[in-house]
């Protein structure tokens, strides 16, 4: 059977196609490998028939506790990370370095075969970091440590031109060759089963769930008072900007269908990065317009995104609102603060940094933003995690100056951000990859969902307007979940 996928290529859709080849490559690799140290990673990548990433996510989520997905529809790029051959967890200020070191130690002695010159194919680490350095305590964030990334046992990589499957196995000294073979065959069976289940794409259906607001953290009057104080703190010259977030807990009339939600996010935000990280019954997911950084070797890109306005009801109003946004002193100031911070942070570690003079307007489904795209070349090859460590948290989610803004957020926000506004992404065995800022996001668990949104507060911020802006930002995920009763 052949069908046409979204890139227009004819692809073979026989269940399990490609997997035989995988075992054929893995078995001799496993036989040959002598384990150095405590364990060795063996990984193989083969081309496979295209599967709808969302359908594969759905099939895997039904049987596995740890499944993640990453979709960039406009770029035709997607990852589905299934299971975990190895994970790294860390807390504290040193967490980025701990992750980078553990990963480079692991891949140094790895035995890797296959087309891992394709971006996002081959053994890679997928996961995220919490907004703060310390682990969140609330049950909402159980399983989402302040740094947790995993090497998936099976990884499907979809690019515009091709689809790849990577299988990764950890072997330890003394394990019998038969045991190694059993692991390979088990992975093969798992893939065959998932591929067979994921033959039909998850359909795009309108969200029909009825949702009611169970709780807001903090409640509106308290949140508005905090906005006022943050604006006052900026007005007094204590700081340039601080981001204040809030949480809305929703309760659905039935169990929330996560794959259907992902499909809707993909359809409504093709220019965004759609991500979902499943841990047990919980899934942290969202559709973020904000790329933190992407690196390849020493070359990298990042974007300053701050300042927003609503979408118009027609093209003309859209244009007018976009022009208003570009002319708005408050928004241009918010934007300038972010660009300045990026310049200060990146200048010492780059030998080239290109910054456009003016921001442009980026239009999303419910909102328009000011954005400035920066490109540069790193002096030292610190990899994507080294870059993320420097950039997080950007003033777009933290504030400026960073330390004072974070102190104010910690004491006044009365919220555990967990992974909200933290870096989520992936890195390959060369340390290259991409991370986004996990905003327009929330945690779904059965019938319950906790949604997060934040607003950048400057001196002229008005508490009521910021409240409305936060509603606009919450809408991205809320409308993908269902209809919220007012």
């Amino acid at each position: 059977m052949t069908v046409t996928n979204r890139t227009g290529a004819e692809t073979d859709r026989r269940p399990g196609s490609g997997a035989d080849e995988l075992v054929a490559i893995l078995l001799p690799l496993l036989d040959r490998t002598t384990v150095r140290g405590v364990r060795t990673l063996v990984s193989a990548t083969v081309p496979v028939a295209w599967r709808d990433p969302v359908a594969l996510f759905a099939a895997a989520r039904a049987i596995d506790d740890e499944v993640a997905i990453w979709l960039q529809p406009d770029a035709g790029f997607g990852l589905v990370a299934i299971g975990s051959a190895w994970t790294v967890e860390a807390t504290g200020c040193d967490r980025f370095r701990q992750v980078a070191t553990a990963w480079s130690d692991l891949v140094e002695g790895a035995v890797v075969q296959g087309s891992d010159d394709v971006p996002g194919a081959g053994p890679l680490l997928f996961g995220g970091f919490g907004f703060g350095a310390e682990a969140a305590r609330s049950p909402t964030w159980a399983g989402f440590e302040s740094a947790r990334l995993g090497l998936p046992s099976l990884l499907m990589t979809v690019t515009q031109a091709s689809t790849w499957l990577t299988a990764s196995i950890m072997i330890t000294p003394g394990a019998k060759p038969g045991a190694r073979e059993a692991v390979a065959r088990e992975l093969d069976r798992r893939w065959a089963r998932l591929a067979a289940e994921a033959t039909e794409p998850v359909p795009l259906v309108p969200a029909s769930a009825e949702l009611r607001i169970a709780r807001q953290v903090p409640e509106a009057p308290e949140w508005r008072a905090t906005v006022a104080r943050f604006a006052g703190a900026v007005g007094r010259g204590r700081l340039d900007k601080a981001v204040l977030a809030r949480r809305v807990d929703l309760h659905a009339d039935g169990s929330i269908d996560v794959p259907a939600v992902i499909r809707r996010l993909e359809a409504t935000g093709p220019e965004s990065t759609i991500f979902a990280v499943g841990r047990g019954t919980r899934t942290f997911l969202g559709a973020t317009p904000e790329r933190l950084a992407r690196s390849k070797g020493r070359e990298f890109r990042t974007v300053a995104m701050a300042g927003s306005i609503r979408r118009g009801s027609d093209a003309e109003e859209d244009e007018r609102l976009g022009a208003d946004l570009l002319a708005s002193e408050k928004d241009r100031e918010e934007q300038a603060v972010v660009v300045e911070m990026l310049r200060e942070t990146l200048s010492p570690v780059t030998d080239r940094l290109e910054i456009p003079h003016r921001p442009s307007v980026v239009r999303l489904r419910h909102i328009q933003h000011l954005a400035t795209e920066l490109r540069g070349r790193l002096r030292e090859p610190v990899g994507i995690v080294g870059l993320v460590e420097r950039l997080h948290p950007t003033p777009a989610v933290g504030g400026a100056p960073r330390e004072l803004a974070l102190e104010l957020i910690a004491h006044e926000e009365r919220l555990e951000r967990g992974w909200y506004a933290g870096p989520v992404g992936w890195l390959d065995r060369r340390g290259d990859g991409e991370f986004v800022v996990a905003i327009r996001s929330g945690v779904v668990d059965g019938r319950a969902a906790s949604l997060f949104a934040g607003c950048g507060i400057v001196a002229d911020s008005d508490p009521q307007r910021e409240w409305e802006e936060s509603l606009m930002k919450l809408r991205t995920l809320a409308t993908a979940l269902g209809r919220v009763a007012s």
Partner: protein, 205 residues
């Protein structure tokens, strides 16, 4: 720990007060409203600030101090006295441009709020004029400009800057404040006899 908490509560009251004063003006602002936005009781506010006047005065002082410190910090990065004067003027103008509420509070609301504030404004005025005069004196010493009455020139410079900012604050549809800067700078520097070539060599703002 308790001291830290008390300091934080005090800052919280000042932050809330700034927002309330800048929205309603000194006379319109009520301590009840400040307490509500600081999420504390009226008694909590009075514990730190016995009167509305003392609260407003503290805001004026700390905000002005911060602005003066910022101007000094920025100016200290330059070694040439003309470049320093340029940076100092630019910092004041661009800070006000980015902090309209702060500018209104310092330059408009405080006038007529009472004699105590008048005295505080005088002090701020003197500090800025003093800063400018010091740069001008250095320029005279270094032979960059001919000897002149630096105190009077500094008053005139501050007056010009002040007037431009106040006009901008009063405008119903304000233009971008920073746009006035190149013209203002050229006029002020020409007035003390700086060469056109030197003015042209200053960084673009």
């Amino acid at each position: 720990m308790t001291q830290e908490r008390s300091r934080r509560r005090r800052e919280r009251i000042l932050d809330a007060a700034f927002h309330v004063f800048s929205g309603l003006g000194y006379r319109g602002a009520a301590v009840d409203e400040i307490a509500r936005q600081a999420e504390t009781s009226k008694g909590g506010v009075y514990f730190h600030f016995p009167t509305k006047e003392s609260l407003f005065l503290e805001l004026l002082r700390t905000t002005a101090d911060r602005l003066v410190a910022k101007v000094e910090r920025e100016a200290a990065r330059e070694s040439d006295p003309i470049a320093r004067a340029d940076v100092a003027l630019w910092t004041v103008l661009s800070t006000f441009a980015g902090h309209r509420t702060m500018a209104r509070l310092l330059l408009v609301d405080a006038i007529g709020a009472g004699p105590v504030f008048q005295a505080e404004l005088e002090r701020l005025h003197e500090r800025f004029a003093g800063l400018i005069a010091a740069h001008l004196e250095r320029a005279v010493e270094d032979g960059i400009i001919a000897p002149l009455d630096t105190a009077t020139v500094a008053e005139a410079w501050f007056g010009a800057l002040h007037e431009i900012v106040v006009r901008w604050l009063m405008a119903s549809r304000p233009d971008v404040l920073e746009r006035t800067y190149p013209t203002l700078r050229a006029v002020l520097l020409r007035g003390v006899g700086i060469d056109e070539s030197r003015i042209a060599a200053l960084p673009e703002r």
